[in-house]
């Protein structure tokens, strides 16, 4: 399982996950055992390339039958050895570990959910727990970490719209004529609204199912 940079997340702001190398899930071993029992605890370690440090904004992954997740991070510190700090403790992924609910869902962990500060992190450790004995394997997949992104400017908001209010007040006329500046700003607003309405396309279906009047079919496929 690799945590290399995958495709950017869909949505307005394009963001790329951080490149990182994750070691495969290692199950907890009890010393001296003959039969490898299924301990129900596994650990995934994740480090950034070349020993670098990064800030974490969001951790995205796909669950595979893990019931509880704890996350510990190792922060770069100026003085002394680096310490491991728990930033998420026993986060419940499956509401009922014996049943399927939540077992293959996608999850996001945000920095505001973390118990500690997650800046300048050098390594991340995921501790997976699955106390139910009915599942053969459990892990998390498609692990991706996103750094904090910059706010991108609004693309579909033309800049001249923000200059609707006139910068200076001219001398106002007597009461017979309406204030021309006021009228022009209102007319501009109405014009923008009509433009927006015109630009929107209706998405209703037409309802035709044949191709050029022909619906003669000779085989079915279910793929």
């Amino acid at each position: 399982m690799s945590g290399a940079a995958g495709p950017g997340a869909p949505g307005g702001t394009a963001r790329a996950p951080l490149p990182c190398a994750a070691r495969a899930a290692a199950a907890l071993q009890l010393g001296g055992g003959a039969d490898p029992a299924r301990p129900g605890v596994a650990v995934i370690d994740l480090r950034f390339p070349r020993g670098g440090a990064a800030d974490l904004q969001e951790i995205v992954f796909r669950n595979f039958y893990t019931a509880f997740l704890s996350v510990r991070v190792q922060r770069a510190s100026a003085e002394g050895p680096r310490k491991w700090v728990t930033c998420l403790r026993d986060y419940r992924l499956m509401p009922s570990p014996h049943t399927e609910e939540g077992s293959q869902d996608y999850f996001s962990l945000f920095r505001h959910q973390m118990l500690c500060d997650v800046d300048q992190v050098t390594a991340v450790r995921f501790i997976l727990r699955q106390p139910s004995p009915v599942w053969l394997h459990f892990t998390i997949e498609e692990l991706q970490i996103y750094p904090p992104s910059q706010k991108s400017p609004q693309k579909d908001f033309p800049s001249w719209l923000s200059q609707l209010t006139p910068p200076e007040q001219p001398a106002n006329l007597h009461g017979e004529l309406p204030d021309p500046e006021k009228v022009s700003t209102e007319v501009q607003q109405m014009w923008v609204l009509t433009e927006v309405i015109r630009a929107r396309q209706a998405a209703a279906r037409i309802g035709r199912f044949d191709v050029d009047g022909c619906y003669d079919i000779n085989l079915l496929s279910y793929t």
């Binding site: 293959q104 999850f107 209706a202 309802g207 199912f209 619906y215 085989l219 496929s221």
Partner: protein, 501 residues
């Protein structure tokens, strides 16, 4: 899961996008434009004045109903990283289990026989019956689940071996709290012995008020206690957000012309199904013509394809003869993507008692199909899907009637073999029609099909004494063959609220 604020804005964006293309949107625009002539709309406060006008003229309520209907039908948006098939069905092994291979071959064989112009009905067997579907469900296995050979706590005692989460009676009591013993119900408190002043008159009055307000959410809450017969047609239309606009009648006429223009193989399946099921039924044979009209149009309605975004099934694709592989000539077959199975016409038959205009009947059926009935014949992990309903039924029976369950299992009469056909048809054709409509009131009111599993377990509980005496599957089926005398609401109330556990 998803961040709550972004989840809400995702939902809002999705609903806005869906409503933008609808006729409600153009009607609102037209109303807003018409209102510009009114003196109370001023240019300075244009937006607020128009909003107030829409509120007082009742259009805001229509918009509220449309939003409520969208929220009810579509599941909450998934995580942004999730691919679209995850929204249809989150469990990978269930996605793979969608169609049995035998059924595919079945259809291809029928294709080759389709040489005649006149459909010779004896050549056609129904595609599959509920019995075959049950076999498929029994063989569903999660590859990550420990299905050991030795019987252990991991193996379920019933037929379904998939470990889905199902509710137990305390949770069901909470969910179905309006069915409680101290709350009036139609089906119980409107019987001849109870004076109508106690409950029935007031309930009808409230119903008329709800209809006057035209509020979908209030109507959905109201029908949980049952629907008076006179108001049922309108209340169901309000809950399903069906308004009989001229565009809808036109759409139905267009579908009718498609029926005349193109013949489909599924038409023969529909003819056969109607002849075998509804026409033989004492209650529904009079509606044979209505059933043809509705079902033939239904199979040509491409708007049904939209429900596949949240259904676990996928519509079969095909290519125009001679143009295999060319994407522009790819079509869905049948046009609505739904191949009817044996008994499909029974979903429509009870509705014929309520609606007499074909276009309105058609719209109600289509909406009920894309909200509820599709879950009864597709494999999914949804709590209202047929797999969960079967597991819920078996779990309820095991937990609350363990002796009966054990006895039936010992004689080779697994209870699900008997109750499966009831649940797949939503009890249509098994219960008396008035009782069936009371049951379907609750399906609409609670927006879930779990009540079917509860009723199936309640029926077994009711006939438990007789069932303990039988010694074979055939005898058990005979005990449970005739449900037409059962009263649905007392059974549900007793099973949920009055059984000593």
């Amino acid at each position: 899961m998803v961040d709550p604020e972004s989840g809400l804005s995702l939902t809002i964006a999705r609903i806005v996008q869906r409503l933008q293309g609808s006729s409600l949107h153009s009607q609102l625009e037209r109303q807003a434009r018409v209102s510009l002539h009114k003196p109370e709309i001023k240019l300075e406060s244009l937006k607020e004045d128009i909003k107030d006008f829409l509120k007082t003229s009742g259009w805001e309520k229509k918009l509220q109903n449309a939003v409520y209907s969208e929220l009810n039908v579509f599941p909450s948006p998934c995580h942004p990283a999730a691919p679209p098939e995850h929204m249809k069905e989150p469990l990978a092994y269930m996605r793979k289990a969608q169609r049995p291979i035998s059924e595919q071959k079945e259809l291809l064989n029928k294709w080759n026989e389709m040489g005649t112009d006149e459909p010779d009905l004896s050549l056609f067997r129904p595609v599959y019956a509920p019995k075959d579907f049950l076999e498929v469900l029994m063989n569903l296995r999660n590859p990550n689940y420990e299905n050991g050979e030795q019987p252990s706590f991991r193996n379920h005692l019933g037929l379904i071996q998939v470990p889905l989460k199902v509710k137990d009676i305390p949770e069901l009591k909470e969910d179905f709290s309006e069915l409680g013993l101290n709350i009036g119900q139609l089906g119980i408190d409107d019987s001849a012995q109870v004076p109508p002043e106690f409950f029935e008159n007031e309930h009808v009055r409230v119903g008329q008020k709800v209809l006057a307000e035209q509020d979908s959410a209030a109507a959905q809450q109201y029908v949980r206690q049952g629907c008076p017969t006179a108001l049922r047609a309108d209340l169901w239309a309000l809950i399903l957000n069906i308004s009989n606009q001229p565009e809808d009648i036109l759409y139905y006429e267009q579908l009718k012309s498609n029926v005349i223009q193109h013949d489909l193989l599924v038409d023969s399946l529909i003819y056969k199904d109607v002849k075998l099921t509804a026409s033989n039924d004492d209650y529904y044979f009079v509606f044979e013509d209505y059933l043809y009209q509705v079902l033939l149009c239904f199979s040509r309605d491409t708007s049904v394809l939209e429900h596949f975004t949240y259904s676990s099934a996928t519509p079969p694709k095909s290519y125009i003869r001679g143009k295999l592989g060319i994407e522009e000539c790819a079509v869905f077959y049948p046009p609505n993507g739904v191949i009817p199975f044996h008994g499909f016409s029974m979903y429509v038959a009870p509705l014929c008692f309520l609606y007499h205009e074909p276009s309105r009947l058609y719209q109600i059926f289509r909406e009920m199909y894309v909200r509820f009935f599709f879950r009864l014949h597709s494999i999914s992990s949804h709590p209202s899907g047929i797999v969960s309903l079967c597991l819920l039924f078996e779990t309820l029976l095991q937990t609350h009637l363990p002796q009966l369950f054990y006895h039936l299992r010992e004689i080779g009469a697994q209870p699900l073999r008997i109750s499966f056909k009831w649940m797949v048809r939503a009890f249509s054709g098994y219960l008396a029609t008035d009782q069936l409509l009371l049951l379907w009131d609750r399906i609409l009111g609670y927006n879930s099909l779990e009540i079917l599993a509860v009723l199936a377990a309640a029926v077994f509980a009711f006939r438990a004494v007789n069932l303990m005496e039988v010694t074979s599957l055939a005898a058990a089926e005979a005990v449970l063959a005739d449900l037409s005398t059962l009263k649905v609401m007392p059974l549900l109330q007793i099973f949920l609220f009055a059984t000593v556990t």
